[in-house]
Amino acid sequence: MSRSLLRSLPGIALGSIFLAAGFLKAVDPAEFARQIETYGVVGGRAATLLAYLIIPLELALGTALVVAFRPRLAAAATGLLLLVFMGATAYAWSQGKTEGCGCFGSVVSRTPGEVLLEDAFFLALALLALLAAPRQAAWLGWRLGTVLAVVLAAGVVLPASAYALPLDALVTDLKVGRRIDELPLKESPVDLSKGRYVVALLDLNAADARETVKRLNQIGAVAKAPGVIAFYGGEVDEKTIFCFNTQPKFEVVAVPRADLKRLFRRLPRFFQLDDGKVSRIWDQAPPRIEEGS
Protein backbone atom coordinates (compact mmCIF):
# COMPACT_ATOMS: atom_id res chain seq x y z
CA MET A 1 0.00 0.00 0.00
CA SER A 2 1.45 3.36 -0.98
CA ARG A 3 2.32 5.82 1.75
CA SER A 4 -0.03 8.49 0.43
CA LEU A 5 -2.96 6.05 0.36
CA LEU A 6 -2.18 5.05 3.95
CA ARG A 7 -2.24 8.71 4.95
CA SER A 8 -5.59 9.10 3.22
CA LEU A 9 -7.23 6.19 5.06
CA PRO A 10 -8.50 8.06 8.17
CA GLY A 11 -10.10 10.67 5.93
CA ILE A 12 -11.64 8.04 3.64
CA ALA A 13 -13.02 6.12 6.64
CA LEU A 14 -14.49 9.21 8.30
CA GLY A 15 -15.78 10.50 4.97
CA SER A 16 -17.53 7.20 4.24
CA ILE A 17 -19.22 7.34 7.64
CA PHE A 18 -20.39 10.91 7.00
CA LEU A 19 -21.63 9.96 3.54
CA ALA A 20 -23.63 7.03 4.94
CA ALA A 21 -25.02 9.19 7.77
CA GLY A 22 -25.93 11.99 5.37
CA PHE A 23 -27.62 9.62 2.93
CA LEU A 24 -29.71 7.97 5.67
CA LYS A 25 -30.85 11.40 6.85
CA ALA A 26 -31.54 12.54 3.30
CA VAL A 27 -34.03 9.73 2.70
CA ASP A 28 -36.04 10.66 5.81
CA PRO A 29 -35.40 14.37 6.51
CA ALA A 30 -38.61 14.84 8.53
CA GLU A 31 -37.44 12.26 11.04
CA PHE A 32 -34.07 13.99 11.31
CA ALA A 33 -35.86 17.31 11.92
CA ARG A 34 -37.98 15.64 14.63
CA GLN A 35 -34.85 14.24 16.25
CA ILE A 36 -33.23 17.70 16.24
CA GLU A 37 -36.36 19.02 17.93
CA THR A 38 -36.09 16.43 20.71
CA TYR A 39 -32.72 17.95 21.67
CA GLY A 40 -34.69 20.93 22.95
CA VAL A 41 -32.31 23.51 21.47
CA VAL A 42 -34.37 24.52 18.44
CA GLY A 43 -37.88 23.59 17.45
CA GLY A 44 -40.49 23.83 14.72
CA ARG A 45 -39.41 25.36 11.43
CA ALA A 46 -35.93 26.15 12.73
CA ALA A 47 -35.37 22.42 13.36
CA THR A 48 -36.58 21.61 9.85
CA LEU A 49 -34.34 24.28 8.33
CA LEU A 50 -31.38 23.02 10.35
CA ALA A 51 -32.04 19.46 9.18
CA TYR A 52 -32.06 20.53 5.54
CA LEU A 53 -28.77 22.42 6.08
CA ILE A 54 -26.92 19.72 8.03
CA ILE A 55 -27.68 17.02 5.45
CA PRO A 56 -25.83 18.69 2.50
CA LEU A 57 -23.10 19.84 4.88
CA GLU A 58 -22.44 16.27 6.06
CA LEU A 59 -22.49 15.01 2.50
CA ALA A 60 -20.14 17.76 1.36
CA LEU A 61 -17.66 17.02 4.14
CA GLY A 62 -17.97 13.26 3.61
CA THR A 63 -17.32 13.54 -0.12
CA ALA A 64 -14.47 16.01 0.38
CA LEU A 65 -12.76 13.61 2.78
CA VAL A 66 -13.22 10.59 0.49
CA VAL A 67 -11.98 12.30 -2.67
CA ALA A 68 -9.35 14.31 -0.74
CA PHE A 69 -10.67 17.71 -1.76
CA ARG A 70 -9.05 20.20 0.62
CA PRO A 71 -8.57 17.24 3.02
CA ARG A 72 -7.14 19.22 5.92
CA LEU A 73 -9.84 21.85 5.78
CA ALA A 74 -12.50 19.11 5.44
CA ALA A 75 -11.08 17.17 8.40
CA ALA A 76 -10.97 20.32 10.55
CA ALA A 77 -14.56 21.26 9.59
CA THR A 78 -15.72 17.70 10.28
CA GLY A 79 -14.08 17.81 13.70
CA LEU A 80 -15.81 21.10 14.47
CA LEU A 81 -19.18 19.71 13.36
CA LEU A 82 -18.63 16.68 15.60
CA LEU A 83 -17.90 18.97 18.54
CA VAL A 84 -21.20 20.77 17.86
CA PHE A 85 -23.03 17.41 17.72
CA MET A 86 -21.39 16.30 20.98
CA GLY A 87 -22.32 19.57 22.70
CA ALA A 88 -25.96 19.23 21.60
CA THR A 89 -26.10 15.58 22.72
CA ALA A 90 -24.57 16.40 26.11
CA TYR A 91 -27.02 19.29 26.56
CA ALA A 92 -30.02 17.10 25.67
CA TRP A 93 -28.77 14.35 27.97
CA SER A 94 -28.35 16.83 30.84
CA GLN A 95 -31.98 17.84 30.30
CA GLY A 96 -33.11 14.24 30.77
CA LYS A 97 -33.67 13.53 27.10
CA THR A 98 -32.56 9.99 26.50
CA GLU A 99 -33.52 9.49 22.86
CA GLY A 100 -30.59 8.76 20.55
CA CYS A 101 -29.17 11.33 18.17
CA GLY A 102 -30.61 10.29 14.83
CA CYS A 103 -27.06 10.41 13.51
CA PHE A 104 -27.84 7.54 11.17
CA GLY A 105 -31.46 8.39 10.53
CA SER A 106 -33.78 5.91 12.18
CA VAL A 107 -31.71 2.90 11.15
CA VAL A 108 -29.48 2.85 14.21
CA SER A 109 -30.78 3.76 17.65
CA ARG A 110 -28.46 4.39 20.55
CA THR A 111 -28.43 6.03 23.96
CA PRO A 112 -26.86 9.52 24.37
CA GLY A 113 -23.91 7.92 26.18
CA GLU A 114 -23.22 5.63 23.26
CA VAL A 115 -23.59 8.56 20.87
CA LEU A 116 -21.00 10.61 22.77
CA LEU A 117 -18.59 7.70 22.81
CA GLU A 118 -19.06 7.15 19.11
CA ASP A 119 -18.62 10.86 18.33
CA ALA A 120 -15.44 10.90 20.41
CA PHE A 121 -14.11 8.08 18.25
CA PHE A 122 -15.06 9.98 15.09
CA LEU A 123 -13.39 13.10 16.50
CA ALA A 124 -10.20 11.14 17.00
CA LEU A 125 -10.49 9.95 13.42
CA ALA A 126 -10.96 13.55 12.26
CA LEU A 127 -7.84 14.58 14.17
CA LEU A 128 -5.91 11.73 12.59
CA ALA A 129 -7.21 12.73 9.16
CA LEU A 130 -6.16 16.32 9.81
CA LEU A 131 -2.64 15.31 10.78
CA ALA A 132 -2.13 12.61 8.19
CA ALA A 133 -3.88 14.22 5.22
CA PRO A 134 -1.70 14.37 2.12
CA ARG A 135 -0.92 17.67 0.54
CA GLN A 136 -3.58 18.79 -1.88
CA ALA A 137 -3.13 17.55 -5.44
CA ALA A 138 -2.42 20.19 -8.02
CA TRP A 139 -5.58 19.81 -10.05
CA LEU A 140 -8.78 20.14 -8.04
CA GLY A 141 -11.39 20.28 -10.76
CA TRP A 142 -12.78 16.73 -10.65
CA ARG A 143 -12.71 16.64 -6.86
CA LEU A 144 -14.63 19.89 -6.56
CA GLY A 145 -17.03 18.64 -9.22
CA THR A 146 -17.64 15.42 -7.27
CA VAL A 147 -18.32 17.31 -4.05
CA LEU A 148 -20.76 19.67 -5.76
CA ALA A 149 -22.51 16.82 -7.59
CA VAL A 150 -23.01 14.80 -4.39
CA VAL A 151 -24.20 17.84 -2.45
CA LEU A 152 -26.67 18.78 -5.17
CA ALA A 153 -27.96 15.27 -5.83
CA ALA A 154 -27.95 13.68 -2.37
CA GLY A 155 -27.94 16.79 -0.20
CA VAL A 156 -30.55 18.93 -1.92
CA VAL A 157 -32.55 16.98 -4.51
CA LEU A 158 -32.84 13.75 -2.49
CA PRO A 159 -34.20 15.30 0.75
CA ALA A 160 -36.59 17.49 -1.23
CA SER A 161 -38.04 14.52 -3.10
CA ALA A 162 -37.38 11.74 -0.58
CA TYR A 163 -40.98 10.88 0.22
CA ALA A 164 -41.99 10.73 -3.42
CA LEU A 165 -39.32 8.12 -4.09
CA PRO A 166 -40.00 4.42 -3.47
CA LEU A 167 -37.27 4.04 -0.85
CA ASP A 168 -39.28 2.51 1.99
CA ALA A 169 -38.23 -1.04 1.22
CA LEU A 170 -34.62 0.16 1.22
CA VAL A 171 -34.61 2.06 4.49
CA THR A 172 -37.30 0.40 6.62
CA ASP A 173 -37.69 -3.14 7.93
CA LEU A 174 -41.17 -3.51 6.44
CA LYS A 175 -40.86 -5.53 3.26
CA VAL A 176 -43.09 -8.00 1.46
CA GLY A 177 -42.07 -11.48 2.56
CA ARG A 178 -40.91 -10.46 6.03
CA ARG A 179 -42.17 -12.61 8.90
CA ILE A 180 -43.92 -11.10 11.91
CA ASP A 181 -41.20 -12.28 14.29
CA GLU A 182 -38.73 -10.16 12.29
CA LEU A 183 -40.82 -7.04 12.90
CA PRO A 184 -40.63 -5.03 16.14
CA LEU A 185 -44.24 -5.76 17.13
CA LYS A 186 -43.67 -8.03 20.11
CA GLU A 187 -46.17 -5.94 22.08
CA SER A 188 -49.07 -7.22 20.00
CA PRO A 189 -51.77 -8.66 22.24
CA VAL A 190 -52.96 -10.73 19.29
CA ASP A 191 -51.08 -13.67 17.78
CA LEU A 192 -50.37 -12.25 14.34
CA SER A 193 -48.59 -15.37 13.14
CA LYS A 194 -51.84 -17.11 12.23
CA GLY A 195 -54.61 -15.96 9.93
CA ARG A 196 -54.98 -12.79 7.91
CA TYR A 197 -54.61 -9.32 9.39
CA VAL A 198 -54.56 -5.79 8.12
CA VAL A 199 -52.04 -4.00 10.31
CA ALA A 200 -52.12 -0.21 10.52
CA LEU A 201 -49.24 1.95 11.68
CA LEU A 202 -50.85 5.19 12.79
CA ASP A 203 -50.03 8.72 13.82
CA LEU A 204 -52.68 9.43 16.46
CA ASN A 205 -52.39 13.17 15.88
CA ALA A 206 -52.87 13.04 12.11
CA ALA A 207 -55.58 15.33 10.79
CA ASP A 208 -57.21 12.49 8.85
CA ALA A 209 -57.10 9.95 11.69
CA ARG A 210 -60.91 9.81 11.97
CA GLU A 211 -61.27 9.00 8.29
CA THR A 212 -58.53 6.35 8.50
CA VAL A 213 -60.22 4.66 11.48
CA LYS A 214 -63.58 4.81 9.72
CA ARG A 215 -62.14 2.98 6.72
CA LEU A 216 -60.42 0.39 8.90
CA ASN A 217 -63.69 -0.14 10.77
CA GLN A 218 -65.36 -0.77 7.42
CA ILE A 219 -62.77 -3.40 6.52
CA GLY A 220 -63.30 -5.13 9.85
CA ALA A 221 -67.07 -5.11 9.38
CA VAL A 222 -67.01 -7.07 6.12
CA ALA A 223 -67.94 -10.75 6.35
CA LYS A 224 -64.87 -13.03 6.45
CA ALA A 225 -62.77 -9.88 6.74
CA PRO A 226 -59.22 -10.07 8.01
CA GLY A 227 -58.58 -8.99 11.55
CA VAL A 228 -57.58 -5.35 11.92
CA ILE A 229 -55.05 -4.10 14.45
CA ALA A 230 -53.30 -0.75 14.75
CA PHE A 231 -50.00 0.22 16.32
CA TYR A 232 -48.71 3.66 17.20
CA GLY A 233 -45.43 4.84 18.60
CA GLY A 234 -45.93 6.39 22.00
CA GLU A 235 -47.23 5.93 25.49
CA VAL A 236 -50.38 4.15 26.57
CA ASP A 237 -52.32 7.22 27.71
CA GLU A 238 -51.94 8.87 24.29
CA LYS A 239 -54.64 6.62 22.88
CA THR A 240 -57.32 7.48 25.46
CA ILE A 241 -58.72 10.53 23.72
CA PHE A 242 -57.89 9.16 20.26
CA CYS A 243 -59.99 6.04 20.84
CA PHE A 244 -62.87 8.04 22.29
CA ASN A 245 -62.78 10.47 19.42
CA THR A 246 -62.38 8.05 16.53
CA GLN A 247 -64.18 4.98 17.93
CA PRO A 248 -61.97 2.22 16.48
CA LYS A 249 -63.55 -1.21 16.45
CA PHE A 250 -60.13 -2.84 16.59
CA GLU A 251 -57.20 -2.99 19.00
CA VAL A 252 -55.00 0.09 19.11
CA VAL A 253 -51.66 -0.86 20.60
CA ALA A 254 -48.88 1.37 21.90
CA VAL A 255 -45.31 0.37 21.11
CA PRO A 256 -42.08 2.26 21.74
CA ARG A 257 -41.68 4.86 19.01
CA ALA A 258 -38.10 3.81 18.28
CA ASP A 259 -39.40 0.30 17.51
CA LEU A 260 -42.20 1.48 15.26
CA LYS A 261 -39.91 3.90 13.43
CA ARG A 262 -38.10 0.95 11.93
CA LEU A 263 -41.24 0.29 9.89
CA PHE A 264 -42.02 3.64 8.31
CA ARG A 265 -40.76 6.91 6.94
CA ARG A 266 -44.19 8.51 6.86
CA LEU A 267 -47.43 7.53 8.54
CA PRO A 268 -49.92 6.08 8.12
CA ARG A 269 -48.73 2.76 6.66
CA PHE A 270 -50.69 -0.42 6.31
CA PHE A 271 -49.73 -3.97 5.56
CA GLN A 272 -51.37 -7.33 5.26
CA LEU A 273 -50.16 -10.37 7.11
CA ASP A 274 -51.00 -13.83 5.85
CA ASP A 275 -50.10 -16.44 8.45
CA GLY A 276 -47.47 -14.14 9.85
CA LYS A 277 -45.93 -13.11 6.53
CA VAL A 278 -46.15 -9.61 5.06
CA SER A 279 -47.99 -10.04 1.77
CA ARG A 280 -48.95 -6.47 0.81
CA ILE A 281 -48.08 -2.94 1.86
CA TRP A 282 -50.08 0.25 1.42
CA ASP A 283 -48.75 3.74 2.06
CA GLN A 284 -50.63 6.83 3.22
CA ALA A 285 -54.16 5.41 2.87
CA PRO A 286 -55.79 2.23 4.13
CA PRO A 287 -56.61 -0.48 1.62
CA ARG A 288 -60.00 -0.35 -0.01
CA ILE A 289 -62.49 -2.80 1.46
CA GLU A 290 -62.16 -5.22 -1.45
CA GLU A 291 -58.35 -5.09 -1.16
CA GLY A 292 -58.37 -5.75 2.55
CA SER A 293 -60.81 -8.63 2.49
Binding site: E187, N205, E238
Partner: protein
Protein backbone atom coordinates in the same frame (compact mmCIF):
# COMPACT_ATOMS: atom_id res chain seq x y z
CA UNK B 1 -108.68 -17.98 -4.32
CA UNK B 2 -106.75 -16.47 -7.20
CA UNK B 3 -106.85 -13.20 -5.34
CA UNK B 4 -104.97 -14.61 -2.37
CA UNK B 5 -101.41 -13.77 -3.57
CA UNK B 6 -102.53 -10.28 -4.49
CA UNK B 7 -104.20 -9.89 -1.13
CA UNK B 8 -101.02 -11.09 0.60
CA UNK B 9 -98.95 -8.63 -1.40
CA UNK B 10 -101.32 -5.83 -0.49
CA UNK B 11 -101.16 -6.71 3.18
CA UNK B 12 -97.37 -6.87 3.04
CA UNK B 13 -97.17 -3.60 1.12
CA UNK B 14 -99.35 -1.92 3.72
CA UNK B 15 -97.47 -3.45 6.63
CA UNK B 16 -93.87 -3.00 5.46
CA UNK B 17 -93.64 0.79 5.77
CA UNK B 18 -94.88 0.51 9.32
CA UNK B 19 -92.28 -2.16 10.10
CA UNK B 20 -89.56 -0.14 8.43
CA UNK B 21 -90.56 2.96 10.37
CA UNK B 22 -90.42 1.02 13.61
CA UNK B 23 -86.95 -0.37 12.99
CA UNK B 24 -85.56 3.01 11.89
CA UNK B 25 -86.91 5.00 14.84
CA UNK B 26 -84.84 5.28 18.01
CA UNK B 27 -85.50 2.67 20.62
CA UNK B 28 -88.12 3.86 23.07
CA UNK B 29 -86.08 2.24 25.85
CA UNK B 30 -83.23 3.54 27.90
CA UNK B 31 -79.66 4.01 26.65
CA UNK B 32 -77.20 2.43 29.09
CA UNK B 33 -73.94 4.05 30.23
CA UNK B 34 -71.24 2.41 32.37
CA UNK B 35 -68.94 4.25 34.77
CA UNK B 36 -65.43 5.04 33.58
CA UNK B 37 -62.48 6.47 35.45
CA UNK B 38 -60.22 6.91 32.46
CA UNK B 39 -60.60 10.67 32.14
CA UNK B 40 -59.88 13.76 34.18
CA UNK B 41 -62.22 16.78 33.92
CA UNK B 42 -61.13 20.37 34.34
CA UNK B 43 -63.43 23.38 34.28
CA UNK B 44 -61.71 26.74 33.86
CA UNK B 45 -58.41 25.10 34.71
CA UNK B 46 -59.53 23.48 37.98
CA UNK B 47 -59.85 19.71 38.24
CA UNK B 48 -63.38 18.65 39.18
CA UNK B 49 -62.77 15.73 41.51
CA UNK B 50 -66.48 15.20 42.09
CA UNK B 51 -67.14 14.66 38.39
CA UNK B 52 -68.66 11.33 37.46
CA UNK B 53 -68.14 9.94 33.96
CA UNK B 54 -70.07 7.26 32.12
CA UNK B 55 -69.42 5.76 28.70
CA UNK B 56 -72.14 4.59 26.38
CA UNK B 57 -72.80 4.27 22.67
CA UNK B 58 -73.76 7.94 22.28
CA UNK B 59 -70.56 9.12 23.98
CA UNK B 60 -69.24 10.27 27.32
CA UNK B 61 -71.73 11.47 29.90
CA UNK B 62 -70.45 13.94 32.48
CA UNK B 63 -72.24 14.41 35.77
CA UNK B 64 -71.38 16.65 38.69
CA UNK B 65 -69.22 19.04 36.68
CA UNK B 66 -70.81 22.14 38.21
CA UNK B 67 -72.61 22.79 34.92
CA UNK B 68 -76.35 23.47 34.67
CA UNK B 69 -77.21 20.03 33.24
CA UNK B 70 -75.49 16.71 32.63
CA UNK B 71 -73.35 16.95 29.51
CA UNK B 72 -72.99 14.41 26.72
CA UNK B 73 -69.81 14.53 24.64
CA UNK B 74 -70.64 12.88 21.29
CA UNK B 75 -67.72 11.62 19.21
CA UNK B 76 -69.81 10.85 16.11
CA UNK B 77 -70.33 14.53 15.26
CA UNK B 78 -67.84 16.00 17.77
CA UNK B 79 -70.56 17.93 19.55
CA UNK B 80 -71.49 18.58 23.17
CA UNK B 81 -75.13 18.37 24.23
CA UNK B 82 -77.12 18.71 27.41
CA UNK B 83 -79.28 15.97 28.82
CA UNK B 84 -82.16 17.14 31.02
CA UNK B 85 -81.50 16.06 34.59
CA UNK B 86 -84.73 14.05 34.78
CA UNK B 87 -83.62 12.00 31.75
CA UNK B 88 -80.58 10.61 33.58
CA UNK B 89 -81.66 7.61 35.61
CA UNK B 90 -79.30 5.81 37.97
CA UNK B 91 -79.64 2.11 38.65
CA UNK B 92 -78.56 0.33 41.81
CA UNK B 93 -75.45 -1.15 40.13
CA UNK B 94 -73.74 2.20 39.67
CA UNK B 95 -74.71 2.55 36.00
CA UNK B 96 -76.86 5.27 34.54
CA UNK B 97 -79.41 5.18 31.74
CA UNK B 98 -80.43 7.96 29.43
CA UNK B 99 -84.06 8.47 28.62
CA UNK B 100 -85.18 10.32 25.51
CA UNK B 101 -82.76 12.26 23.35
CA UNK B 102 -80.17 14.88 24.23
CA UNK B 103 -80.64 18.55 23.33
CA UNK B 104 -79.33 20.11 20.15
CA UNK B 105 -75.58 20.75 20.31
CA UNK B 106 -74.55 23.48 22.70
CA UNK B 107 -71.05 23.51 21.23
CA UNK B 108 -68.55 21.40 19.34
CA UNK B 109 -65.35 20.08 20.83
CA UNK B 110 -61.74 20.19 19.67
CA UNK B 111 -59.04 17.61 20.20
CA UNK B 112 -55.57 19.03 20.60
CA UNK B 113 -52.55 17.32 22.08
CA UNK B 114 -54.48 14.29 23.33
CA UNK B 115 -57.09 16.45 25.09
CA UNK B 116 -60.70 17.33 24.37
CA UNK B 117 -61.82 20.88 25.06
CA UNK B 118 -65.11 22.72 24.65
CA UNK B 119 -67.05 25.69 25.92
CA UNK B 120 -70.17 25.29 28.02
CA UNK B 121 -71.96 28.16 29.73
CA UNK B 122 -69.03 30.40 28.91
CA UNK B 123 -66.64 28.11 30.78
CA UNK B 124 -63.77 26.13 29.34
CA UNK B 125 -64.10 22.39 29.92
CA UNK B 126 -61.14 20.10 29.29
CA UNK B 127 -61.06 16.30 29.24
CA UNK B 128 -57.73 14.52 29.39
CA UNK B 129 -56.43 11.09 30.31
CA UNK B 130 -56.08 10.48 34.04
CA UNK B 131 -52.56 11.09 35.38
CA UNK B 132 -50.31 8.06 35.61
CA UNK B 133 -50.62 5.80 38.65
CA UNK B 134 -47.84 6.21 41.19
CA UNK B 135 -46.96 4.03 44.17
CA UNK B 136 -48.13 0.60 45.35
CA UNK B 137 -51.20 -0.63 43.46
CA UNK B 138 -53.57 -3.55 43.47
CA UNK B 139 -54.45 -5.31 40.23
CA UNK B 140 -57.99 -3.96 40.51
CA UNK B 141 -56.69 -0.41 40.74
CA UNK B 142 -54.54 -0.95 37.67
CA UNK B 143 -57.46 -2.37 35.69
CA UNK B 144 -59.73 0.49 36.78
CA UNK B 145 -57.13 2.94 35.51
CA UNK B 146 -56.29 1.01 32.36
CA UNK B 147 -59.09 -1.37 31.32
CA UNK B 148 -56.92 -2.82 28.53
CA UNK B 149 -54.98 -4.72 31.19
CA UNK B 150 -58.06 -6.82 31.84
CA UNK B 151 -58.48 -7.96 28.23
CA UNK B 152 -54.74 -8.50 27.85
CA UNK B 153 -54.80 -10.78 30.89
CA UNK B 154 -57.94 -12.56 29.71
CA UNK B 155 -56.76 -13.36 26.20
CA UNK B 156 -53.15 -14.30 26.90
CA UNK B 157 -52.23 -17.98 26.77
CA UNK B 158 -49.13 -18.55 28.90
CA UNK B 159 -46.42 -21.07 28.15
CA UNK B 160 -47.51 -24.35 29.74
CA UNK B 161 -44.06 -25.59 30.73
CA UNK B 162 -43.20 -22.35 32.49
CA UNK B 163 -46.56 -22.26 34.27
CA UNK B 164 -46.10 -25.87 35.39
CA UNK B 165 -42.77 -24.89 36.94
CA UNK B 166 -44.22 -21.78 38.56
CA UNK B 167 -47.14 -23.72 39.99
CA UNK B 168 -44.79 -26.10 41.83
CA UNK B 169 -42.22 -23.59 43.03
CA UNK B 170 -42.13 -23.99 46.79
CA UNK B 171 -40.14 -21.08 48.25
CA UNK B 172 -42.11 -18.06 49.32
CA UNK B 173 -41.18 -15.30 46.90
CA UNK B 174 -42.28 -11.72 46.45
CA UNK B 175 -42.61 -10.91 42.76
CA UNK B 176 -42.21 -7.14 42.84
CA UNK B 177 -43.39 -5.62 39.59
CA UNK B 178 -42.17 -2.08 38.86
CA UNK B 179 -44.08 -0.66 35.93
CA UNK B 180 -45.67 2.46 34.48
CA UNK B 181 -49.39 2.70 33.82
CA UNK B 182 -48.38 4.94 30.89
CA UNK B 183 -45.73 2.55 29.53
CA UNK B 184 -46.45 0.67 26.31
CA UNK B 185 -43.99 -2.12 26.97
CA UNK B 186 -45.48 -2.64 30.44
CA UNK B 187 -49.01 -2.78 29.05
CA UNK B 188 -47.89 -5.60 26.78
CA UNK B 189 -45.76 -7.64 29.16
CA UNK B 190 -47.14 -7.14 32.69
CA UNK B 191 -50.57 -8.65 31.86
CA UNK B 192 -48.78 -11.70 30.39
CA UNK B 193 -46.86 -12.15 33.62
CA UNK B 194 -50.01 -11.65 35.67
CA UNK B 195 -51.92 -14.23 33.63
CA UNK B 196 -49.06 -16.72 34.01
CA UNK B 197 -48.96 -16.30 37.77
CA UNK B 198 -52.74 -16.40 38.02
CA UNK B 199 -52.74 -19.63 36.00
CA UNK B 200 -49.98 -21.10 38.18
CA UNK B 201 -52.19 -20.48 41.25
CA UNK B 202 -49.21 -20.71 43.55
CA UNK B 203 -49.67 -18.82 46.83
CA UNK B 204 -45.89 -18.92 47.36
CA UNK B 205 -45.49 -16.43 44.50
CA UNK B 206 -46.88 -13.13 45.73
CA UNK B 207 -47.31 -10.40 43.10
CA UNK B 208 -46.77 -6.82 44.25
CA UNK B 209 -47.28 -3.90 41.89
CA UNK B 210 -45.48 -0.61 42.13
CA UNK B 211 -46.38 2.09 39.60
CA UNK B 212 -43.69 4.57 38.63
CA UNK B 213 -44.18 8.06 37.20
CA UNK B 214 -43.12 9.06 33.68
CA UNK B 215 -39.81 10.56 34.79
CA UNK B 216 -39.11 7.56 36.98
CA UNK B 217 -35.34 7.83 36.76
CA UNK B 218 -35.56 10.56 39.41
CA UNK B 219 -38.22 8.73 41.46
CA UNK B 220 -37.05 7.85 44.98
CA UNK B 221 -38.42 4.29 44.89
CA UNK B 222 -36.93 3.58 41.49
CA UNK B 223 -33.58 4.94 42.68
CA UNK B 224 -33.61 2.94 45.88
CA UNK B 225 -34.45 -0.26 44.00
CA UNK B 226 -32.02 0.45 41.19
CA UNK B 227 -34.78 0.43 38.58
CA UNK B 228 -33.40 1.93 35.39
CA UNK B 229 -35.94 0.59 32.91
CA UNK B 230 -39.48 -0.74 33.08
CA UNK B 231 -40.98 -3.17 33.56
CA UNK B 232 -38.52 -4.46 36.13
CA UNK B 233 -39.42 -7.60 38.04
CA UNK B 234 -37.53 -8.07 41.28
CA UNK B 235 -37.68 -11.42 43.08
CA UNK B 236 -37.32 -11.22 46.85
CA UNK B 237 -36.98 -14.14 49.24
CA UNK B 238 -36.66 -13.62 52.99
CA UNK B 239 -36.21 -9.90 52.41
CA UNK B 240 -33.31 -10.42 50.03
CA UNK B 241 -33.28 -9.86 46.27
CA UNK B 242 -32.44 -13.09 44.48
CA UNK B 243 -32.65 -11.76 40.94
CA UNK B 244 -34.45 -9.46 38.55
CA UNK B 245 -35.79 -9.21 35.03
CA UNK B 246 -35.04 -5.93 33.31
CA UNK B 247 -37.50 -4.90 30.60
CA UNK B 248 -39.05 -7.22 28.07
CA UNK B 249 -37.31 -10.52 27.51
CA UNK B 250 -34.82 -10.61 24.67
CA UNK B 251 -36.49 -13.75 23.41
CA UNK B 252 -39.24 -16.07 24.60
CA UNK B 253 -41.93 -15.16 27.07
CA UNK B 254 -41.98 -13.34 30.39
CA UNK B 255 -43.06 -16.49 32.26
CA UNK B 256 -40.21 -18.49 30.73
CA UNK B 257 -37.78 -15.78 31.81
CA UNK B 258 -39.28 -15.76 35.32
CA UNK B 259 -39.14 -19.55 35.61
CA UNK B 260 -35.55 -19.57 34.41
CA UNK B 261 -34.61 -16.86 36.88
CA UNK B 262 -36.21 -18.75 39.77
CA UNK B 263 -34.44 -21.93 38.70
CA UNK B 264 -31.02 -20.30 38.49
CA UNK B 265 -31.28 -17.86 41.38
CA UNK B 266 -32.59 -20.19 44.05
CA UNK B 267 -30.11 -20.34 46.94
Amino acid sequence: MRLTPLLLAAVLAAGLPALAAESASPSPGLVPFSPTSTYKVEVDGAEIRTAEMFLGDPGLLLLGCSLKFPVLVCPTDQTVRYIPQENVIRDNQGNVNMKGTPTDPISSYQTVGGQISFQAEGRKVKLSPKPALVGPQTLDQIIAHNPDYESRIKYYTPDETAVAFLSKYARKTEVQIYFGSWCSVCEAWVPRLVKSLQTAKNPALDMQFHALPKNFTSDATAKSKGVTGIPTIILVQDGREIGRLNGRPESGTMEEALAKLLQTSAP
